[in-house]
Symmetry: C2
Subunit: 295 residues, 2 copies
Amino acid sequence: SLSGSRRRMTPAGFAEAVARLELTNAALVDCTADDSIVEAYPAFINANLHIVTPNKRANVLPWRRYESLKELLDRRQKYFLYETNVGAGLPVMSTLRDLIASGDEVVKIEGILSGTLSYLFNAYDGSVPFSQLVAEAREMGFTEPDPRDDLSGHDVARKLLILAREIGLKMEIAQVRVHSLVPPPLRRGPFSSQFFPALARYDSTVLKRFEAARSRGSVLRYVGILENGRAEASLMECSRNHPLASAKGSDNIIAFTTTRYSRTPLVVQGPGAGADVTAMGVFSDILKLLHYLPE
Amino acid sequence: SLSGSRRRMTPAGFAEAVARLELTNAALVDCTADDSIVEAYPAFINANLHIVTPNKRANVLPWRRYESLKELLDRRQKYFLYETNVGAGLPVMSTLRDLIASGDEVVKIEGILSGTLSYLFNAYDGSVPFSQLVAEAREMGFTEPDPRDDLSGHDVARKLLILAREIGLKMEIAQVRVHSLVPPPLRRGPFSSQFFPALARYDSTVLKRFEAARSRGSVLRYVGILENGRAEASLMECSRNHPLASAKGSDNIIAFTTTRYSRTPLVVQGPGAGADVTAMGVFSDILKLLHYLPE
């Protein structure tokens, strides 16, 4: 990392040093999830670099900063490629962009956008208490170190915001309605081993919702929906025929209903997280950039 | 059409006329399903044109002609874009190409690649005889004028060949094993209204296969599979958990199992035929070409 290098350097300082090299056709590949690098994006763009990244933070910046970043990219004629922001290596952003570019209109986007929440509700069958399932998933490394980062739905909200902005909506993260799976009393304070016994007190609530869904032939899924200019992330009942009901394991699945794909949606499904498929998606973006640039 | 224009012109003659214009960054958009245009592709490429087309015929040419076409494209540095060859506007070829380009290895491709056969087996529930379902589908324009063109599986075989060649297999159309749904006695001769009563004599065979599948909790689907260098198209039993079982209506669905997408496949699903989604796919290819070309 930069802070560990012999000459200590800030991201902005690094951008300045790069600018002095007067590179053409170079790109910054930001494989962090850091704000500090994103803050230096304008400096990198001014240093004549394209940007390729799985980092979602630039695309969820407050609108003004987001807009001025896009304007700078435009003005400096630099590419900003972030296919892996949603669904990792799955062709989500490129598909959405192709639909729009070819004149289609998005009516609705719905998806299971968190691999962790996908896994939890695909695995949950009422036999193991929900809190235990989460604890086991954490043991296996399927959740963030603080599982509330998954259960809060915040990451799903960020992905919805990125999709919303891609279809031209001027939206802020606060406008995404997020229904957190973390009971209000457990939302504050640092994560500790006390979290799971505390969460267990809510196991019966999840079980009741599950049983109610099952009695109607449905399943529970944590779904993000973008429709009529509104974005919402919540635990939903899906009938077994629902386009999202076919996701398995820790699959992401995303269904685009458009003017042309109206009877049945265009659906992309598959593993949507993990180092290998994310690396593949970033590398694909780099290859695309090479393709776009003059030789 | 060319034959109807004031100056009658062959495709090759048209290519020559275009060559004299000395165009740069021009493309032939071949929206026919004709062999005569494909035969003139070399002339168009030599006239300095890129090619964008939904026409499958170039990609299923005998290997030698296919290979020499690809070599000519390479030598003349011309693009050949045919995203709509499989799944119309669905991101099938681009996804496959991205997987390969980023170093993934294809283990298996399986799909429901015919909208007509998808519709027939999604709709078939044993209550209406299969021959009647086909006759009704033809009435509604869901089949080719001669429904044997759909039922033969030949179009599925062509799509499998295109996918096979895309992953680097040196394959000929005759090497694709196709199990036709047209009973042998009905395969010859022109189509007539006598076809449906004749087909009705085989209704009980389809019903028996359907009942057998249902007794095992499975469904019947006409599936194309590419695996271990072999391609096969046939009516298959799929369990309800099978990745392909979630296709609805006349959806195409295609599942890529690769080294990286190994636990669950990368799946693309949606309407895979029709003028609007095909036009959209061709237009997307034209936009991609614009993106690739120097300004």
